[in-house]
Symmetry: C2
Subunit: 349 residues, 2 copies
């Protein structure tokens, strides 16, 4: 799937993902009214409004961008009807030739992650039949549970030609609370060694009881790295599996690194050479075009930048509000995509 | 909701959660056949089998235990029909008086976490109407994105009398990969200070550029703590909000700590005095009754132990298989609950 994503980026000349995160306040009143007339002020009515809103956006931008990223939470908040709208959106985007990145941020223990991987990227066998329940092309994955929780996704990626983006450094203000934590590592004769205060699960890592003599011995020789770099190194390891590397040298295993942290992005770009970086946080969250260069490689590849409300809610804000308004919200989205494309083109030079 | 959970634990004398994680291999053939006859070998057929299977288990155990924990991944793998079965299961369990802990492990940036919190624990306004889409009583939450991603859940907990369990130390083998990482902290005149190698997001934390003189100065004075303790301290902080504390002194904000790591459990029990600990990993994952004492307080409160396949798939394994078999899978689950109750009673003494 990464090859397909790259080819579509090259064809559209736009390393852009449109985030389909339809909050109610982004949906023009006339769409809501129409949906409520048909389905009532119900979860079904809201889900129908979301779907109609998305359809307008998708039709307007599908020739301009390679990919979309529906945020499943915005559908899940409407319960089962919302998730049906999510599925319909995924399916319609794929029909339109867009690469669909399900922003699901799932991650659990092995057997449970396997179920998520099956439901979102894989196929499930029922009796003699097989089904692809949500069938996104790619998905975001939360790494907090370690390799156990990521491996089932890698398996499905290899089998089904799909891809993932693992959260490494997220775009939100409090992402540093845990992700930036200063992690101690020790240098040994064999190179850097991980230090755990208690039985850690890292293969090849050393497990040292607290206050042990051995720990005291390595303390004089400690290195420090932020946690997101440790996670980034793990992503690089997962990404290096030969069966996951595509013809352009990139892996089906990418990473999420927020546009709001460009200095960290520059470091992570080097740590994960085979990983495409999905960059959220551009626009509404504060990331600017000039912040994006750090995430790209010199060949102009290696990153894809997401904008959600900056595009789908463009009609509510200037300079688009006056020109387009609610009636032409999809044209506003199209104009916002073109402006973003130009902003990135200028930034990358 | 934590008060209700505690009262139900006291009434049943069983600090036990039954994990409703129906993998296909746990469902007796006769249930599958019946569902496929009605709905075909389809996602709907599989979802119906899951629901019928659950119903049998719920009817058999609802008088014995205070709570159930449906793992949403096992439903999500069947797409929209699977999620409809999840919702039906949640609703039926609540009718039966069980506290329902949605094992959803969601967590995202603020506005997105707010949507998850709304969908699973809260209410959503649609026009003039209000709906509670999935309406679990409590839910598990992933903390990797920091306070931003947890706060919207706290808000809903306070407003709707609901609860959460934040992942601190998970039960799986690779949980240590990131969760056990040795994090550096510095002692200052004002007490312990967090050290970040780069602009960290922790309020009150100090942000030090790598290799700075200031960093070098504190290096001589470093303390080390595993990451899960840092997360545990954050949970304690979230849990301490007065509006989240119930009449027994426990908070609506609990934590997940795996039975497979009892020594860490003992430390975390002290770090998070107001948090109930949801303990997965008992039984099939290797946790034993005697490992559980660390998670409880001296009053016998403070923890609730989950078992999933050990109960719902009891009929497939000895000593239950021979006695009950597929026809009486629900009686096998009931017997397994009673055995687990006795195991925990003996362990707690």
């Amino acid at each position: 799937m990464i090859d397909r994503l790259i080819e579509k980026i090259q064809k559209t000349e736009a390393p852009i993902v449109v985030g389909l995160d339809p909050q109610m306040s982004f949906i023009p009143g006339w769409i809501l009214e129409q949906a409520y007339r048909e389905f009532g002020e119900t979860l079904e009515g809201a889900a129908e409004a979301v779907w109609q809103f998305n359809k307008g956006i998708i039709d307007a931008v599908c020739g301009l961008v390679p990919a979309v990223k529906p945020q499943i939470a915005m559908y899940e908040q409407f319960g089962v009807p919302g998730l049906a709208a999510f599925q319909k959106t995924v399916s319609y985007c794929r029909q339109k030739g867009l690469v669909v990145i399900g922003d699901i941020k799932r991650g659990d223990i092995g057997s449970t992650s396997a179920a998520y991987a099956t439901g979102h990227l894989g196929k499930i066998r029922i009796g003699e039949k097989e089904y692809a329940p949500f069938d996104e092309d790619m998905a975001t994955v939360n790494p907090y549970l370690g390799t156990d929780g990521v491996k089932p996704f890698l398996k499905v990626c290899a089998e089904e030609d799909k891809g993932i983006f693992v959260l490494v450094k997220t775009s939100n203000p409090s992402s540093g609370e845990f992700q930036d934590r200063c992690v101690a590592l020790a240098e040994s004769e064999d190179g850097p060694v991980s230090v755990f205060l208690s039985g850690g699960g890292k293969p090849g890592g050393r497990s040292l009881p607290e206050h042990s003599e051995e720990l005291l011995k390595v303390l004089g020789n400690l290195q420090f790295r932020p946690l997101y770099e440790i996670v980034g190194e793990k992503v690089a390891e997962w990404a290096a599996e030969p069966e996951l590397i595509g013809k352009y040298g990139y892996s089906e295993v990418g990473a999420v690194v927020g546009a709001t942290y460009p200095e960290m992005g520059a470091v992570l770009r080097k740590i994960m050479p085979r990983s495409y970086i999905l960059v959220p946080g551009y626009g509404a969250q504060g990331g600017k075009g000039k912040d994006l260069t750090a995430f790209f490689n010199e060949d102009g590849l290696g990153a894809i930048v997401n904008s959600s409300r900056g595009i789908i809610a463009a009609w509510t804000k200037e300079p688009y509000a006056e020109k387009y308004g609610a009636d032409h919200y999809a044209d506003a989205a199209r104009a916002a995509v073109l402006d973003m494309k130009e902003d990135i083109r200028q930034a990358l030079g």
